[in-house]
Amino acid sequence: MTIAQPAVRTAAAPSAATRTVRYAAHTTAMTATNIAFMVFTIALPVGMYLLFSMMFGDQAEGQARGMIMINMAAYGGLGAAVTAGTQIQEDQRNGFLRQLVVAGLSPRSFLAGSVLAASAVIVPALLAVGLVGLVTGVEASLPDFLATLAVLWLGLLPTILIGLVLGMVLRGAAAMAGGVVTMMAMAIFGGLWMPLEMFPSWMQSLGHALPTYWISDLGRWALYGGDVPFTGLAVIGAWTLVLGLLCLVSMSRAVGLQRR
């Protein structure tokens, strides 16, 4: 019997970076077409923005409205980031990561692609709250407005990693519940729903250690100016670093690669 020689393959295999981007693009599309996810992550913060801005929007010569927009956009982004991170990770925990790896994606590319995908799916929530804010009276120049959204978007990176880590550490329903609890705690103690000044001092100290507080502060800085909040950059940077390392360590233990 003659055996067919393997076909000569001239085209180069896609690089790790290409595979990362392709995985991220497909995952983004899958999440973006998840109607429940999009409605939940957009409608809730937009609704809350409308409620709060109606109640308190005119305070501080209208700057309150801008702050409410920033905080609700951050809250929406936070919810999307944590949910997406948890969900993506959860799929892999079921063992799908094994299929991805056998298809040629390295675990590290999977991690990078997951962060990219989650970064993409938080954009609609940020945009939606921001646009509704502009329409309902937030006063901002277009560059300031875009800079604010960009700052919020970048500042949300550690919350994406929180979602990924939660998905790695917790299983199934626990991962989802853990995501919701974490998201609520970060929103409340970070002062996204109510100004942190309304809380007792120990809660304020806690809040100052959370990335959410500083995401909001960075947004305020981008929209209304003032001193660059270096403390905030340091806190967000520290969270990103620690969570990033946690992700890498969990990944090197090959979470999701073992047989269930």
Partner: protein
């Protein structure tokens, strides 16, 4: 009955001294195996024999404690990344909330040298499933999708871990029909199965594994010959007298019929000749000679209670 190995060129799969323990359980215990390009090989063995662990090592999903795996001359991770090897994972996880098409496009986009999607759809016969939600598929349909996943990378070495689990007889027959078409293109195919007749029928070479080792390696008929020939059943004579016939290895009362004697023969012709020319000729009736199938071979080979005799 060991197959003579004279590799004219690089082995499709070369496993050398693989060991792997999971806690107290020794999944692989010094596994040596060489599979040549174009071979169709069945891995046969009871649960826990190490088939799945061995396959996971061939694609880099598991690493051996000791030993090495080469796939077409390279390591498993490189072979996976460059699309040399494709695999149908046992009960491989899918994305239940997604449609078949969406998930396949994702996995297709990651392949080094993908087979055109239309060809995958045709070869795995999943055109009717592409728009379906994966969570709503039947077990057999999901297996067709997993087969498609294995084909996406247009691999030269194709691993199928229990490919027909969850399929009814019709689906199983259709599956092997498609598998033969895929095999005709000269790919090396290794499949693990519990269906012994599938191994005998579909594979040119059958490897029996037990407790992390290879216990037999040959063609289906060769494996069957391990039970040393034929089985003679008859009525009308006591087992001791049947056992005394030439060419009979042992004889005992049939488990399912107390009046029937079942004799395992090394030479059934000699046994029959002696039977009909000797004193038992007038008494025996319902004489039947059968060739034990692979199932019988399989049971004997992996019968742990008897291994000390062998």
């Amino acid at each position: 009955m060991t197959t003579t190995t004279a590799p004219a060129r690089t082995a499709a799969l070369e496993l050398r001294g693989l060991t792997r323990s999971y806690g107290q359980v020794r999944a692989l215990d010094g596994l040596d195996l060489e599979i040549r390009p174009g071979e169709i090989v069945a891995l046969l063995g009871p649960n826990g024999a190490g088939k799945t662990t061995a396959m996971e090592m061939m694609v880099g999903l598991a690493t051996p404690d000791a030993g090495a795996v080469r796939v077409l001359g390279t390591d498993p991770v490189t072979a996976t990344r460059t699309g040399l090897i494709g695999t149908m994972l046992q009960a491989g996880a899918l994305l239940p909330d997604q449609r078949v098409r969406t998930m396949l496009r994702l996995l297709h986009s990651l392949q080094a040298h993908p087979m055109p999607m239309d060809d995958v759809v045709a070869q795995a016969d999943i055109a009717d499933l592409m728009a379906r939600r994966i969570g709503a598929l039947s077990g057999g349909q999901a297996q067709r999708v997993r087969f498609a996943i294995a084909l996406l990378g247009d691999p030269q070495v194709l691993l199928l871990d229990e490919p027909t689990v969850g399929m009814d007889i019709g689906a199983r027959r259709a599956f092997w029909g498609r598998m033969r078409e895929v095999a005709a293109s000269g790919r090396t195919i290794v499949f693990a199965t519990h269906h012994l007749e599938e191994a005998e029928r579909e594979a040119g070479r059958v490897i029996v594994m037990d407790r992390g080792r290879i216990v037999a390696d040959g063609t289906g008929p060769e494996i069957a010959a391990v039970v040393a020939g034929r089985v003679l059943t008859l009525r009308g004579a006591p087992p001791a007298q049947v056992a005394a016939l030439p060419g009979v290895e042992r004889a005992e009362v049939d488990e399912t019929d107390a009046r029937r004697v079942r004799a395992v023969c090394t030479d059934s012709d000699a046994a029959l000749a002696a039977l009909f020319t000797g004193p038992l000729a007038a008494d025996v009736h319902d004489v039947l000679v059968t060739a034990p199938g692979l199932e019988e071979a399989f049971l004997r080979i992996t019968d742990h209670d008897e291994e000390t005799d062998r």
